[in-house]
Symmetry: C2
Subunit: 348 residues, 2 copies
Amino acid sequence: MARRKVSSIAEFSLIQAIARRFAGRASGLIKGIGDDAAVVATKEPAWWHMTTDLLAEGVHFDLDTADPTTIGYRAAMANLSDIAAMGAVPRYLLITLAIPRRFKSASVFAIYDGLMEACRLHDVALIGGDMSASRAGLFLGITLIGATAAGRALFRHGANIGDHIYVTGTLGDSLAGFRLLSERRSSPSKNRRVRPLSPADRCALIKRHLRPSARVKEGQWLNQERLASAAIDLSDGLSGDLRHICEESGVGAEIDGGALPISASCQAYAESRHLSPVDLAVAGGEDYELLFTAPPRMHAAIERQAHARGFCITRIGTVRHRRFGIRIRDTDGIMRPMPVTSYEHFFA
Amino acid sequence: MARRKVSSIAEFSLIQAIARRFAGRASGLIKGIGDDAAVVATKEPAWWHMTTDLLAEGVHFDLDTADPTTIGYRAAMANLSDIAAMGAVPRYLLITLAIPRRFKSASVFAIYDGLMEACRLHDVALIGGDMSASRAGLFLGITLIGATAAGRALFRHGANIGDHIYVTGTLGDSLAGFRLLSERRSSPSKNRRVRPLSPADRCALIKRHLRPSARVKEGQWLNQERLASAAIDLSDGLSGDLRHICEESGVGAEIDGGALPISASCQAYAESRHLSPVDLAVAGGEDYELLFTAPPRMHAAIERQAHARGFCITRIGTVRHRRFGIRIRDTDGIMRPMPVTSYEHFFA
């Protein structure tokens, strides 16, 4: 028999304090925190996009090594990235928390600080959720709701043979940043092959890990201008997420390893650790960039519009027949099957 | 450093199996399981109602004493009850699961069986979610989305002085059922004061605990016919949930203890254990009945329409001035402050 001891009054006043501090007004919001459900209004025909995640202490994050603000920020950003990959405008956020008794209310506020830091960047309003005591650790549930015009969204299933394959931004930075954070905690004497990395590179990579950016504007642009045939966000890494697009679209893919966008910082990190930057780019997850496909006739428009909007877009390959499989041409020119990386989500 | 080991392929194929088995078609559903977000379409102006819950093993339920199907059923029903309390039509469900490695896929399917058993009763479609491995136990996140016509919903804040207070169904059954289940596991010799209860009463109470019913039709009726001024569902118990309505509406309340609807089975249980049935009705939570207020001029319509529809509705009190507080007239005729029960959510 398990019991959830809820001191209703303590819970109620904490929720009220959260509501006072974080609940904002939002277009279409009828009722936020404080009823049986949150209520939002729709006037015109629209498509609503809903994504949800569950994060558990000791599983998705560890409070010994991650501060609560970072946990909140990254949790929100992972969901913002899912909405970005649909080409939708993120609108409303609901949060559930199960909180251990050892937890101070300042830490609860810090989680919300991180969540709302990410949400404010994209005008997302906290509209509801739930809170309870926990005996087993901290648990965080997130639901994010976005909107597009009716009939307009980026799906995983639309890629066609011959389409170009693109990514936004650079790949591998988050994995490099995570490893740098992990190194700090392990004994440096054991890492004889480690060469120094400039403080600027180190900071840039760690920041990409702790404060990733979801490509919300890029997703909306690709969707509204009808440029992309399929899209997904890179949370599991290029290898895993490209596989999802190929599965859903019934196609194969050829990736040009030499074309993968790798930041100078990630390049420097790879060199300092005698690693292949392409391997980092392929295996590294949680970059929260967008991976998308587009018909070749869109290429000029994509390049021109991305340039005009200041978006970083790189063509990295071509959609092939299903029988081709998923392959990558290494920088040595040899074509190999894309490695099936069983990606480990991490949280420094 | 915590890592979530996600065997992407195993997770992916389990999600595919779940999708094949449980994902149904639904009005307005554009894309269900299998993309970055679920997508639903709206055509007419509407209000959307969103509620979310997080349940953790060892906190909200215990796998040693609750079977996975019951866990799923009750989790869905608790959220259906929230949507019922808004007077909304429940439509779409999203589920997140973090699953311990010791868990067999049959148990995962059993959770979904329970969830969908509850959802099918109300034509709710599973449209998305997420799944990951867990090192810390089983965690279940639920988001339920319902709809009403624009401008039409039952809130907690609408109660006015002089309004009648009503509940649906009977109160205290779930608590009695829970205690019966707990007794089975404790030594019977210690309970000398326990008198036998008929198998029919025992079954009825345990069923009310394990398979509660959300008052979805009753909520829609009260909302569509504009009968109620405020409503909430009884998850924390009459004492706690009446307090929420009073807080949000800025009023007090007078409850007639003798009027509380108590089932014959609960009455028999209380007598057999020398308990006050009114105490059970006031303190007992998770009945998932509706508590609502309505102007006195609606009383005749409420009685007539409830009768015609086969709904069980009981008037239990009157909304008073805030200064009156929240009081209950016991069956001995004495008015006392309503006890502030720190309700313990439980899960047999």
